[in-house]
Amino acid sequence: MTLETPAFWLVAVLLVGASLGVVLTPNLFHAVLFLAAALVATAAVFLLLDSAFLMGVQLLLYAGGVVTIVVFAIMLTERLVGQRITQASRGLANGAVVAAAVFVGALGVLMETPPAARPPLTGDATEAIGRALVGPFAVPLELLAVLLVAALLGAVYLARTDD
């Protein structure tokens, strides 16, 4: 019994609560703020799984980058239309049934898997990630760089004005 168990439950409650906020709140801007909370809670889950480096990446790229972009998009579209975007939902019952079915199905599968013991930490994961990125994963890393450039150009092209 370590500190991990209460920390896990705290983070789990935060994550699930924030996720429910994302999909249920009627105000789109509040939904983005809930998403930021959910992403930070996910970063905490990464920390519980001994991945401090991924926690940093998650906080910087996701909680920092994605949330900023989405807030910009909402501000732009609200500003353009001159009225607040209402966030109506439809088919709540159908969506709940499908989502619950997927959850129960996944639960059924992972209840059948035998419980695995958590192996002890071996060395510094961050250093190992760095070495792997320039070693066996060098080609995917370069491809990722190409993808990011393509996404950058694509976003600028799509969002530009006509004149």
Partner: protein, 99 residues
Amino acid sequence: MPLQAYLTLAALVFAIGLFGVLTRRNAIGILLGIELMLNAVNINLVAFARFRGDLAGLIFTLFTIAITVAEVAVGLAIVIAIFRVRRTIEADRLDLLRG
């Protein structure tokens, strides 16, 4: 906590995100649901990487995070472009391709 706890948490977040994708009318709201689902997948990847002692899961998570950020940038650019033309981002009313 056992591996199952993390996987259950991820499955729950994934189901919530799926619910959001299915029920939101607003295109940005749908994107937020997709973000939640991808996030749940990342939790799964990191949990498996930790419990199997396999570094590849962490690298994979790094890649999915980067690709997701690119996807969000392009997705929101498309949303803004659609908004300029159609003056709406309600997914139900974007039916030009409907036969």
